[in-house]
């Protein structure tokens, strides 16, 4: 059914699992910071899939440089977006400091 070696399968499965865990965290929340962490976990899962894809078929030494460059770009983009999201979150907290207690949104 599949031509992948057990080791590759293991890592690909983990990457998909991380995507699923992150997805669950993103939907359920409930705190915004937790959802941002969940997004980062989704990202980590996807980047891990790309790393495994770069690693597969490794015959002449180096992993796929194109994919590695894509991952580096993706990492920077992800951290930029995270930083911006956290800045927005900090501002949100400051905008209404008094009334703010646990962050409870009615359902996903």
């Amino acid at each position: 059914m599949t031509d992948l070696s057990p080791q590759l399968l293991l890592y690909i499965g983990t990457a998909a699992g991380l995507f699923a865990i992150g997805l669950y965290g993103f939907i359920v929340g409930p705190q915004t910071l937790r959802r941002i962490l969940a997004l980062n976990i989704i990202g980590a899962g996807i980047f891990m899939l790309m790393v495994v894809l770069a690693y597969r078929g490794l015959a002449d030494g180096a992993a796929d440089p194109v994919l590695q460059a894509l991952i580096l770009t993706g990492l920077v983009v992800a951290v930029s977006a995270t930083a911006f999201a956290l800045a927005l979150l900090a501002r949100l907290k400051q905008a209404r400091p008094g009334q703010y207690r646990p962050e409870q949104e009615p359902g996903p």
Partner: protein, 316 residues
Amino acid sequence: MSLLLFDATLCLLLLVLALASILSRQLVHGVILYIAFGLMMALAWARLATPDLALAEAAIGAGLTGALCFSALARQQLHLPVVLSWPQRLWPAVFVLLMLGGVLAALLQLPPTASPLVDVAQAELINSGVSHPVTAVLLNFRSWDTLLELVVLLLALLGALQVAPAAKATTSWPLSLSWSRLLAPMVILLAGYLLWAGASQPGGAFQAGALLAAGAVVLRLNHQLNWLRWSNFWIRLLIVSGVSAFVLAALLAMLLTTDNTDVIWLRWPPQLAGGFILLVELFATLAIALTLTLLVVGEPAAAEQAQQNSGGEAHD
């Protein structure tokens, strides 16, 4: 076989850490577990023969994101843990499992062979001006992506500064102050090495920039480097220089192109490619370091600046 066992342990650990980080009651625990997860991820990537990425993930995924999350945590009040009811957990879980099934079924069909682009990239490597293939892709083959990525980073800073709440002044600890002063020259040296090594080995602009930023953040948290702020014109110039050096280099390269070939955007002249790439990387590193520093610590509070300006002379 033992290698497979190692892989299995690593994968299991990754999954458990991620799950725990999502499900932990306290947000603080979630963030700490996430940092541990990032470090494990870096280990996994080193295992998968991608040391460049392992370096970057350790610096960004674990270090930088962790630092950002902690500074966000510090700004908000402690949370009471929120307890969700079963239906609130069940339906998302069902949806996620369905999605996971679909994705896994699709991923099983992936072929085990590498992309044909690997050979093309290897064949063109000698024309790229650098000997490290990842750097060649980043700054020559797909330099447009990298340019846009630097713009995205700059943009995140613009957005963050625009919404930044006023910072609270904090006091620093004498021991950490002297320690950070000791640390700074070493950090600069290491970053310079990483940047230089990037041309032939793992390393490069982003890793070096992240390291520099780490040093600068430590100093800034100890109230040093107060000139390091967006309202300072020279800092702004340096931050913008990452993108503008890239653009200027590309324009210069267009001018230098000899007449018998077509003028193409972002093509470095073959003999000078190495120099161009080093130039672009140097400015990118500085810009990345400053951008990340400002992203983590934000602008210094106005009161703190005034206090530093008056108090700094008395101390010395």
